[in-house]
């Protein structure tokens, strides 16, 4: 795959989406961040309109956490600019309007859950009521527990409550559900719905496509520090070609195969052909008609990691 057809709704990486929906929650322009020889974020541009739920999707090492840490002002970009509601990340105004859940965010040891939340709450101008934050984060009954005596899942819920309690306009979540089981994850996103219903913006990172698909209305896919795809979940799923048909052909030549209905791209290794599809059923039917010489046919799903690599290679080529 060498390019994203514009018909799928995918925009070319590097272009900033137009800001028709009013004030931008996040505006990132040409941001680069290096760690020694490693280019963690490579000329990244990204705009998030208010009221959206945006997933930053990518494999480990894609630059998601680095991007988030720059958005929060915990780290400065080597080049480029970032604005959060028009202010610099890390500024007092940005801190007042952004709530965040970090992967490595720790809690003050030796204090009670309720005490900690009350203290953090007091730092904001128009916070949620304590019981509201406790309710959304499902921390009920744990207010008198010491924060250093919480289980992993409970700590994660406390992190969420800390992020929510200031009633931020933008919620930034770095792999919020990484340590959760399926049930807890469902509960988490259910809790988040109440938050987005009030027109709040959420930017979260994940490496689960299914999670991004279900919860986000836009997916920004990152690999090797760059945006490799950006669009609605259905557009993204179509473009990565999440099913693959493998078959052998008696007569060589695969010209035109990637143009079959439902197909995305085709590659041949000798007589063995791999056809990436967004709709493998349609593609298979068309394939059988178009290539009666195909044999040893198998249909399988593609791991997301592989899909990322395909896309990245396509961009790099």
């Amino acid at each position: 795959m060498t390019s994203h057809p514009s018909a799928t709704g995918i925009r070319t990486p590097g272009l900033v989406r137009s800001d028709a929906a009013g004030e931008c929650a996040v505006r990132v322009q040409g941001v680069t961040r290096r760690f020694g020889p490693v280019l963690a974020v490579d000329n990244l541009s990204l705009t998030v309109e208010q009221g959206r739920t945006v997933a930053l999707l990518g494999p480990n090492g894609a630059g998601k956490t680095t991007t988030i840490s720059m958005l929060l002002g915990l780290s400065a970009p080597d080049a480029g600019s970032i604005e959060i509601f028009g202010s610099a990340p890390g500024s007092a105004t940005a801190h007042a309007s952004v709530g965040a859940m970090l992967q490595d965010g720790g809690m003050m040891p030796g204090v009670l859950v309720g005490e900690l939340l009350a203290m953090v709450r007091s730092l904001y101008a128009t916070p949620l009521a304590l019981h509201e934050a406790v309710e959304i984060a499902q921390l009920g009954g744990l207010e008198k527990r010491r924060v250093d005596r919480l289980s992993g899942g409970q700590s994660q819920r406390l992190r969420l409550a800390m992020a929510l309690i200031g009633d931020p306009r933008l919620l930034v979540l770095d792999e919020p559900t990484a340590a959760m089981d399926v049930e807890t994850r469902r509960g988490f996103w259910h809790a988040m719905e109440g938050f987005t219903e009030r027109g709040r913006t959420i930017l979260f990172s994940t490496h689960y496509l299914e999670e991004a698909d279900v919860t986000a209305d836009r997916i920004v896919m990152m690999a090797r520090g760059r945006v490799v795809a950006d669009g609605t979940p259905s557009a993204i799923k179509d473009s990565v070609g999440l099913r693959v048909i493998r078959f052998s052909i008696a007569t060589p030549g695969i010209a035109g195969i990637d143009a079959l209905p439902g197909a995305v791209s085709a590659t041949a290794h000798g007589s063995r052909v791999e056809l990436r599809c967004k709709d493998s059923d349609a593609a298979l039917r068309a394939l059988l008609a178009a290539r009666p010489d195909a044999y040893d046919i198998e249909v399988a799903g593609v791991a997301l990691e592989d899909a990322f690599i395909t896309i990245t290679d396509g961009i790099a080529a």
Partner: protein, 246 residues
């Protein structure tokens, strides 16, 4: 910031083992030293040994409480990611630092208080009434350089390293600063060293008050110089750290 400071203090009070250590050690040391040396003639501070040692041990305990409450705790909070989390809130870094300094300095009080109480109850020490509150406030406030040193240690060292470094710093400052034995009895080279240390000058302030004499400006200036030096280094170190890791 007040709420954060309150929570820091509450956290300290809840750590009973730590309180026992910082307050128990100087009290035990006081009882030991004042019993062993209590019958000796006046020390050269011109005070009864029970009083001179009381001031020295209160200073020793105060310094320990402050060092422990700033350095190792900062290192731990940094490692746990709590500082990172706190930096995401609207609480300004300068306020975080101020609250931590005050909270650390408050940890000088248990040792001062308990040492004084032990001196009065066990050794029958008496001082003019006004001298007690002045001593408490002076010793506590004089711990400012130690709080800054602790912040510096907590910024440059991690967990166990910060704990170890704090301990070394504590014992060196106490021993060389003449808190365990009068500097007059050590070799003159060590006396010269002692006179550069904040621990020595803080004890001097206390001894002066116990003698009913006004504290010397020189002692105050040395303490302020140590505070400024440690604070500048801590700021520089935290800048470097932020640039490197963040």
């Amino acid at each position: 910031m007040i709420k954060y400071l309150t929570l820091e203090l509450r956290r300290s009070l809840r750590d009973r083992r730590y309180l026992l250590l910082v307050a128990g050690w100087p009290v035990a040391a006081y009882l030991l030293f004042s019993t062993v040396f209590g019958s000796a003639a006046d020390r050269s501070e011109g005070l009864a040994p029970t009083v001179a040692i009381m001031v020295a041990m209160a200073t020793f305990g105060a310094m320990g409480g402050v060092l422990m409450a700033s350095g190792p705790r900062l290192a731990m909070d940094r490692q746990l990611g709590w500082l990172r989390q706190l930096r995401l809130t609207p609480l300004a870094p300068a306020r975080i630092l101020t609250a931590r300094l005050i909270a650390a300095m408050a940890l000088s009080l248990p040792a001062i208080g308990l040492t004084f109480i032990a001196a009065v109850l066990v050794k029958g020490v008496t001082l003019p009434l006004w001298e007690w509150p002045v001593l408490v406030v002076l010793i506590a406030a004089g711990c400012l350089p130690f709080a800054a040193m602790g912040i510096l240690v907590g910024t440059i060292a991690d967990g166990d390293g910060a704990q170890g470094l704090t301990m070394v710093l504590y014992l060196v400052l106490a021993a060389l600063g003449g808190l365990w034995m009068p500097v007059q009895i050590v070799p003159s080279a060590l006396q010269t060293v002692a006179k550069t240390l904040p621990s020595y000058h803080l004890a001097q302030l206390g001894w002066h008050v116990a003698q009913g004499v006004a504290p010397a400006l020189g002692d105050v200036l040395v303490l302020l110089a140590w505070f400024a030096g440690a604070a500048l280094l801590a700021v520089a170190a935290s800048r470097r750290l932020t640039l490197r890791t963040a």
